[in-house]
Symmetry: C2
Subunit: 297 residues, 2 copies
């Protein structure tokens, strides 16, 4: 079940709505044009995680879309209201989805709401089982984001049809997930995740652990969970690196992951059928990094 | 005002809904993921135009999206129901929008509806005034559509955030509309229209009139209005051509247009500030082609 709370100037703490009833106008531009933005964040024991990072990214998406949305205080109030109205959130991890659309045609006001639901066991299981991933071309050059802001490459918009089609394509080919590559051959991101890889070198006898993610200049979304993990890993002595990352870099890694707010750190078992690292190292590094990430939750 | 009719197995002629009330679930994947398709068609004197072409393109979009939608008969019944419930449609041109989404998460059934509203005078005025257009990069190579079907380039999806952002960008630069170009420098289409250009040559004393549009292989939507006009123009003695079309071709044309189902044939006055043809020829050719197009309505 979903708990729904709409942001509403008449209701400072948000307005609880019946999740079994229609709640959105058929003319809402979020629906008719995919003209809106969203964030998905995790709630643990009824508390939202990385709230500041998600609200900051939501605001950045709104800016890129030239969309006026409610302020952080209104979001926070609605999120807490929705979690309080979801008793399961006390003992089950929940997804908290924030959505803001351009509203119905002619309304000149965003439609904004919070939806809370429990995390699906299938998604959580991928943290343990790992993923078979396929590389799919995203079609854009890695340097286009700055030059063509109308492509909205840094914004998390509701226009996710391509992301969903890429996942369907992967599933039809027997894969679990996708890593997009740029036209010029760089690793970008997953349809709903960031990409991470690790290199362990012990040339000097003292092992150096290095965690790498593609550079933001490539037009990918700034990953809030990647950001949290990087901060925790740095404090634990990891070196951090920012791409360019090539598919060969991924295959040469000691381990690689897709990381996102709800599924968290999901190890990549294979890419296009090729194993990434060994199961043993993957398991050790996943356990170490998951423990670091858990400290941030 | 909008008239709304939902396609509903329980109501063979469609179910009339209150357009002032919320009608869509907040969890509908058309809204949360832009995961759906649409068509916009014109109704004149209460009758839908090019219905077969629009229903065929809707079905083709559904196929590309792996989406099961109601059959043509159900759409036709709902369209006629919605027009009959819109008295203004008898004497004003109307937009008939067909939408089908993947439905609420877990529902496994498309949400499908018809919305009828009168054509905005501002849009209709562009047929007369013409357009100042700017070229914007779409980021894709012109040969990517066949190789990367997950990019959904031939499907008319609800994920139109980039199309809307491109139009906002143009408006902020003082332009009326956009023509997208491919990474490799070819003319593609407008955010909500097809591109047409005309060449008149009279080397032989007997003028040859040629109408050209970009080739579909470039990953553009097949234009239903471009298709109807091409058929009418061929019968009237025009030669027809299919691109590649370059920006230089557009600037060298005797006239060029953006053409779509609701706005119909809108002449392009300037592209990035450069005049296309002369006002006189533009006016003559627009009148001739508009008359041909009117025969098809």
């Amino acid at each position: 079940m979903t708990t729904l709370v709409f942001l509403d100037p008449q209701h400072p703490a948000g307005r609880l709505a019946d999740p079994a009833a229609p709640a959105i106008m058929a003319t809402d531009q979020g629906l008719t044009r995919g003209d809106g933005i969203f964030e998905s964040l995790l709630a643990v024991k009824g508390a939202p995680r990385k709230l500041g990072a998600h609200l900051a990214r939501l605001a950045a998406s709104a800016e890129l879309m030239d969309l006026t949305i409610p302020d952080a205080g209104a979001w926070q109030a609605a999120i807490l209201h929705a979690l309080a109205a979801t008793p399961e959130s006390q003992d089950r991890q929940c997804t908290v989805r924030l959505t803001a659309t351009r509203g119905p045609e002619g309304a000149h006001r965003a439609t904004a709401w919070v939806a809370v639901s429990t995390v699906s066991p299938a998604l959580a299981a991928q943290r343990e089982k790992g993923l078979d991933v396929m590389l799919l071309e995203r079609g854009y050059d890695s340097d286009i984001a700055a030059r063509a802001p109308w492509l909205l490459l840094g914004a998390k918009t509701l226009s996710y049809a391509v992301n969903m089609a890429a996942l369907r394509h992967a599933h039809s080919e027997g894969a679990d997930d996708v890593i997009f590559t740029s036209r010029d051959g760089l690793v970008l991101e997953g349809p709903t995740s960031s990409v991470l890889l690790a290199h362990i070198s012990d040339d000097s006898g003292d092992p150096v652990k290095r965690l790498i993610t593609p550079h933001l200049d490539t037009g990918i979304l700034p990953g809030t969970t990647q950001g949290a993990l990087f901060a925790a890993a740095r404090d634990a002595g990891w070196e951090l690196g920012y791409g360019p990352v090539t598919p060969e870099d991924l295959l040469d890694a000691d381990a690689a992951w897709l990381i996102s707010s709800i599924r968290l750190l999901a190890p990549i078992n294979t890419i296009d059928g090729h194993s990434v690292g060994t199961a043993g190292i993957r398991q050790v590094l996943t356990a170490e990094l998951s423990a670091l990430l858990a400290q941030t939750l």
